[in-house]
């Protein structure tokens, strides 16, 4: 068996350093709630991030269920348009800033030190701070739901002047909460960069790092580059709302379109912030279960860099109908089409990795494969949206909703779930329950397609997004979508069941839980003790 495995890094792992120590033996810090409040351990903070993200995933999911329940039939049945708009807005904000981003940061916290042989993150106290900003930020955001005038109701893109002059009074709280979440992201990114650049085990060069580490390094730079832009634009909103400035108020000489330029200059790289780590996870999982080295590792790294660079040059493709000059339309159409190329390279590389491998289909692999197929479908609709003249018809319809949900749900979210299934044995020492995981997978795949595929048709047939009520010709599509959404939503309870069962028990996993896995995390025992790699492991880069 081992003969046709790729050579893997041999790390000397000493039981005295990391193994054989139960948490309570060497954990001298505070206990109970204070232990979690004050922890500086990357594994504990990683778990906090992941638990936080999962709870936000369910809260955002409940909002989505409200939206889908209202849209089940034409007419207004359950909620009024004001509340519907609050639900769509909060769903988007919570899912983007509360669920997907913290989940990736949580995975990075857990796995980056383990994959590079570091004892912890480079800045552990900062790590604690950046996590605990999040519950504060999102408690603030959720509290707007019970404020007079209601929660933000202007969509997650919060276009001015709807979000300034015409916004509910709670908007100021929304701005503050987004500031806090932004600070958290920047601090997290700084920490990840510092860790990757400084704490690699002796002998591990940049080019020896796993793709998960690579994609996170590039993502972290993107975060540092664009989060300040978001902070800037929401500060301008704050000034417009509370201090009488007119950045975005046409009546005072301001420019509502400026808002969109600034927002999307942040927003488009943000899209890649949510997908690049997903690429990394999938690029780690597919070779493991194909028992074959990742095809074109170098190209994968370069393609990630290429996507990151191009992501700064395409923002106005979100604004094709806003009245841009012709030259700008052409510029952004061409640059957007270019971005399809490195993305395509990635998909080709994953498929070539599968080619002539020795494939098995454990739960992480199932999710990774679904990611490749469904993300590519989202990529196709993205390519269609890039064609600026056609975008005049697609823009702000359910076609767009279908597109970005395909890249975010079976894209980012499936990759996160693949990562969780992949690393659960390392975290808990147990394999996730196979049968239950398979149920979760298949119900999710069917649910996700039932939800989002009909949206393409609804959008092409002319259904605008963000409407609580619709014309009769869209009724069939919406009913199917709603049924699919409920199915997808409920099947996520299975995911919680799998995780809880896995934490409590199950088939014992050895240090190297998957026989094709080759990164450093598989050299420490399962479950990983609280402190690992206190002495840097010896890393022999014999694979290159």
């Amino acid at each position: 068996m081992a003969s046709h495995l790729p050579p893997r890094p041999t790390a000397q792992h000493s039981q005295a350093d990391a193994g054989g120590m139960a948490a309570d033996e060497h954990h001298h810090g505070p206990r109970g709630l204070k232990r979690w409040l004050l922890t500086t351990n990357h594994k504990e903070i990683g778990s906090l991030y992941l638990i936080f993200s999962l709870s936000m995933f369910f809260i955002g999911g409940i909002f989505a269920m409200v939206v889908r329940a209202e849209l089940f039939q034409p007419g207004l049945q359950l909620v009024q348009p004001e509340f519907f708009n609050q639900m769509t807005t909060m769903h988007g904000l919570i899912m983007v800033f509360g669920a997907v981003m913290p989940a990736f940061v949580g995975l990075a916290n857990w796995m980056v030190p383990l994959q590079i042989g570091a004892p912890d993150m480079a800045l552990p106290r900062l790590n604690n701070f950046s996590f605990w900003l999040l519950p504060v930020a999102f408690a603030l955001l959720l509290s707007t739901l019970v404020m007079p005038g209601g929660a933000p109701d202007f969509g997650w893109t919060f276009y001015a002047p709807l979000s300034t002059t015409y916004a509910p009074p709670s908007t100021t709280f929304f701005i503050f909460s987004l500031h806090l979440a932004g600070i958290s992201s920047i601090l997290g990114a700084i920490n990840i960069i510092a860790t990757i650049l400084n704490l690699r085990t002796p002998g591990m060069r940049m080019m020896d790092m796993s793709l998960f580490v690579w994609t996170w390094l590039i993502t972290a730079f993107l975060l540092i580059a664009v989060m300040p832009v978001l902070a800037g634009v929401i500060t301008m909103m704050l000034l417009d709302i509370n201090f009488g400035t007119s950045f975005f108020n046409a009546a005072g000489g301001g420019d509502p379109v400026l808002f969109q330029h600034l927002f999307w200059f942040f927003g488009h790289p943000e899209v890649y912030i949510m997908i690049l780590p997903a690429f990394g996870i999938v690029s780690v999982i597919i070779p493991t279960f194909a028992r074959k080295r990742l095809f074109g590792y170098a190209s994968m790294v370069y393609a990630t860099a290429s996507i990151a660079i191009l992501s700064f040059l395409v923002w106005a493709h979100h604004m094709f109908v806003v009245g841009l000059p012709l030259v700008a339309e052409l510029f952004f159409m061409y640059s957007t089409m270019l971005i399809a190329v490195p993305t395509g390279v990635k998909v080709f590389n994953w498929i070539t990795t599968l080619f002539r491998g020795s494939l098995t289909f454990e739960p992480p692999m199932l999710f990774a494969l679904a990611f490749v197929v469904l993300f590519t479908i989202g990529g196709f609709s993205g390519l269609m949206l890039a064609i600026s003249p056609a975008d005049f018809q697609y823009h702000d319809t359910y076609f767009v909703v279908a597109h970005f949900h395909y890249v975010l749900v079976p894209g980012a979210v499936f990759a996160i779930m693949a990562g969780v299934y992949y690393w659960l044995p390392k975290w808990t020492g147990h394999y996730p329950h196979t049968r239950l995981s398979q149920w979760h997978f298949w119900l999710s795949v069917i649910g996700v397609n039932l939800t989002f595929f009909p949206m393409h048709f609804a959008g092409l047939a002319g259904m605008p997004r963000r409407i609580p009520d619709y014309a009769l010709q869209f009724a069939d599509f919406n009913m199917i979508t709603s049924i699919g959404a409920f199915m997808f939503g409920i099947s996520q309870l299975l995911f919680v069941a799998v995780v809880v069962l896995c934490v409590r028990g199950g088939e014992k996993a050895p240090a190297k839980a998957w026989d094709g896995a080759e990164d450093l995390e598989w050299t420490v025992p399962s479950p990983a003790p609280l402190h690992t790699f206190e002495t840097p492991p010896r890393f022999e880069p014999d694979r290159h």
Partner: protein, 57 residues
């Protein structure tokens, strides 16, 4: 110099040989790649802008 440009071009294109990458990472200096990357990023922007303005005529 030419080697740096070729490597950055490969990064833009998204395809690179394992051996070339190996060479870049063992012999190249990060600052050279970053400077070349920024300059060629600007060149790319100008190129697309040029094509767009020619096409818009």
């Amino acid at each position: 110099m030419w080697r740096v440009i070729k490597s950055v071009l490969a990064a833009f294109f998204g395809v690179q040989k394992e051996s070339r990458r190996h060479e870049d990472f063992s012999r190249g200096r990060a600052s050279h790649f970053i400077i070349a990357g920024i300059l060629m990023g600007l060149a790319l922007v100008l190129l697309i802008a040029l094509v767009a303005s020619l096409a818009a005529r």
